[in-house]
């Protein structure tokens, strides 16, 4: 079990960094699609999307 703690630390860091990046991507994607959808809805209603621009 020589240096087991170093290996564990490295593996945890890798998984945490990848997970955080994936979550950040998902959050950014969700925000963009919501904003895009709002704009499309507003335009299709014939309104002027002043606040969104």
């Amino acid at each position: 079990m020589q240096y087991l703690e170093y290996m564990t630390a490295a593996y945890i860091i890798i998984w945490v960094v990848i997970l955080l990046y994936f979550l950040s991507l998902s959050k950014r994607e969700k925000n963009i699609w919501e904003e895009l959808q709002n704009l499309r809805t507003t335009i299709s209603r014939g309104e002027t999307p002043q606040d969104n621009v």
């Binding site: 079990m1 020589q2 240096y3 087991l4 170093y6 290996m7 630390a9 490295a10 593996y11 860091i13 890798i14 960094v17 990848i18 990046y21 994936f22 991507l25 950014r28 994607e29 963009i32 699609w33 904003e35 895009l36 704009l39 499309r40 335009i43 002027t48 999307p49 969104n52 621009v53």
Partner: protein
Amino acid sequence: MRRPYIPAFVFGILALIGLTIAPYMALMYAGIEKDMGFAQKIFYYHVPSAFMMYAGFSICFISSILYLYKRDKKYDIWAFCGAEVGLLFCTLVLLTGPIWAKPIWGAWWVWDAQLTLHLVLWLIYVAYMMLHSYSEDSLQSAKFRAVLSIIGFLDMPLIHYATKLWRTHHPEVIRGENFGLPLDMKIAFYFCVVTFLMLFLALLFKRVSLEKARDELESIKADIRDRQTILGQVGSE
């Protein structure tokens, strides 16, 4: 309606399967190296991360050259996304390297050629990302970033061959045809490389789809602004 992005989904599923099996391959299937013990197992994630860093920055480099030549926005999108995903893996290499180095070299960090060049590469691409985030003129920013990525790319061969060019603590990146590994370690290593490749492609395609959506959003906003300006001018006349 959200657009399904098939490449990201397919590579994501493959990466998920690979990432489930990879710990078994690295921890159980591959033998324990007698001198480094469990610290050597960092190798199975550290080296594939470095390969994916090379892949990301290479995509950025090629797309940047194409952007400078053709001035097509899609190349800028691929360059930026390649840089971001490449930077993620570059960060992983920089984080796991010192954890491996501490028990083996007795120090978290040494200022030898390879490690320093690697840190310089990371800083170049951090600057690249900052240029994208903080500049207002996107065309000017894209040109500057393209030039910066070409400069950054020149650092990569130096990193790869640093162990041959200078005396460094870091071992040679590729030592002969078989990486100097026994069969079990080699199989586990190749498995991890393929898994990381799937992960890299999944993240890259997802990031590209996100950037394309953002670009589409900006186009719609610009279009609305133009219409409002025209309507304002007509109204004032």
